[in-house]
């Protein structure tokens, strides 16, 4: 690809703009109307083509929105490549968490919060917190259930941590992988306007798991009714985030496949809730 060579000949402004780019080369966005005609027919848009247009076209600074769709060309074995996925500030992470806990109907989580900057900080640490919260609260609820009985000796069940960790991390990474593969396959058959990159799907799943953390803490209360109500409530909340995110991606498809996809997403989420809590 000749595009790295073209960096050498670019104006300083262009180079500075390109260096300030955020990674996201494979998403199509309706927010940037200039790019839609070019991007519509090739999802895996080579970054070279976009950069060529940037170099040849105007280079004003208000085109940084367009540049938000470009990847910094760091090879994957360097540290800088992975730093691209942690390019978030505190307030951004907090905003994304808020967006996942209070889903606004009609607003797409990905488009609203993540569009140009999927991060791995949120999913990773939310999963880690969830693992420990589930283990600890499961332990505590056992303790409170058996509190009065004289034959009960308290044991900190440490095995639970490893099981919980495996389950949650597998869910947060393998299910997005499968979903992404499925969406890519459907995209090749049916033209869709909206498609998400793998990192964005991981992001949505990660942030949607956040609402399970307070649920797991409240799960210590040993009343069955309270537990069921809590679980259904949190399932609806995080499920709605997922549904609202993925519905635009499948609605242009065959009716039955669209419904099946969404139903599978919700079902897997419910299984996770029931299994963990």
């Amino acid at each position: 690809i000749a595009s790295p060579v073209m960096y050498l000949f670019a104006e300083f402004d262009d180079a500075a703009n390109l260096l300030a780019a955020n990674p996201d080369a494979t998403t199509i966005s309706i927010d940037e109307p200039v790019e839609i005609p070019k991007n519509q027919h090739s999802r895996r848009q080579e970054t070279g083509r976009e950069e060529d247009d940037e170099l040849l076209g105007t280079d004003d600074s208000d085109k940084t929105e367009l540049l938000a769709g470009q990847k910094k060309s760091a090879p994957f074995w360097t540290f800088e490549y992975y730093q691209m996925f942690f390019d978030v500030d505190t307030y951004q992470v907090l905003d994304r968490i808020k967006g996942s806990v209070f889903p606004v109907p009609g607003k797409n989580f990905v488009r609203l919060y993540i569009r140009s900057n999927p991060d791995l900080y949120g999913p990773f640490w939310i999963c880690a917190t969830l693992v420990f919260t589930i283990a600890i609260s499961g332990n505590l609820s056992n303790f409170f259930i058996h509190l009065g009985k004289p034959t009960y000796r308290y044991v900190p069940e440490f095995r639970k941590v490893s099981i919980a960790a495996t389950t949650i991390y597998a869910y947060a990474w393998l299910v997005p992988l499968a979903l992404w593969g499925f969406l890519m396959w459907r995209n090749s058959k049916v033209m869709n306007i909206v498609s998400y990159s793998f990192l964005e799907i991981v992001c949505v799943y990660g942030y949607s798991l956040f609402v399970y953390i307070p649920t797991a803490i409240l799960w210590i209360i040993p009343q069955k009714v309270v537990r069921w109500v809590l679980m259904i409530f949190s399932l609806c909340l995080s499920g709605s985030v997922l549904v609202m995110t993925f519905w635009p991606a499948v609605r242009d498809d065959n009716r039955r496949i669209a419904f099946a996809t969404v139903a599978t997403i919700v079902l897997l989420h419910a299984l996770l809730a029931v299994g963990c809590l």
Binding site: D89, T90, V93, Y154
Partner: protein
């Protein structure tokens, strides 16, 4: 240079002075000479460095000596002693017991590595081993808490002892987090400090949980 041909040093002015260039620091000499010193001096020097860092952790002030001369002896000693003290708790074969030695070891070191990677990925300027060193040394308050807990448990294991243990462990958890934040927070970009402090507090929380739930057989 015709004019210089006439310059000559007269015989009666003595020419003297030093030709050797004064060295700024004597460390190359020291490195050579540490080979000859008795082993006790070498060990004592390292022990003094470790001890000085312990003192820095107990009274955290922003000093750069902890960061500059990192070593991993202190963290290793603390980790091993903490893992040893967490042994002997409900090690029945049929139910889930407390954490095994290997589990504690892995959690501490793996957790410290993950937190260091996290802070570096977020743009921190601290080096890998410096961060490991600080995180390891700041386990010292929790090790002290573990000692206190074991002593309290020797006296009895009722509600009163639980409350005492809870207070002690909570106080040491706060101390650990504050100490490590005092050392590490400066090297982070300012609008990401909370993102770096949160995993550190989660790490020490998990260790505190393991200490608090320790029940002897």
């Amino acid at each position: 240079f015709a004019g210089l041909a006439d310059v000559s040093i007269s015989e009666d002015i003595p020419v003297e002075g030093e030709i050797t260039v004064p060295v700024g620091s004597h460390s190359p000499d020291e490195d050579y000479s540490t080979l000859d010193e008795p082993v006790r001096d070498t060990i004592l020097r390292d022990l003094k460095a470790v001890g000085k860092k312990f003192v820095h952790v107990m009274y955290p002030k922003k000093s750069s000596t902890l960061l500059r001369d990192w070593d991993l002896w202190g963290p290793l000693v603390l980790c091993v002693s903490l893992a040893l003290m967490l042994q002997g708790g409900s090690a029945d074969s049929k139910d889930d017991g407390g954490p095994q030695f290997a589990e504690v070891f892995v959690i501490i070191w793996f957790g410290a590595v993950v937190i260091t990677l996290n802070s570096k990925l977020l743009g921190g300027t601290i080096s890998f081993f410096q961060s490991l060193c600080v995180l390891g040394y700041c386990i010292l308050p929790l090790t002290v808490a573990m000692l206190v807990c074991r002593l309290v448990l020797l006296a009895g294991s009722g509600t009163v002892s639980f409350i005492i243990r809870l207070i002690v462990v909570a106080a040491m958890f706060g101390w650990s987090t504050l100490a490590s934040t005092a050392f590490l927070a400066d090297s982070q970009p300012p609008n990401r400090k909370a993102l770096v402090v949160y995993p550190i507090s989660l790490f020490y929380f998990v260790i505190s949980w393991m200490i608090l739930t320790f029940t002897p057989q």
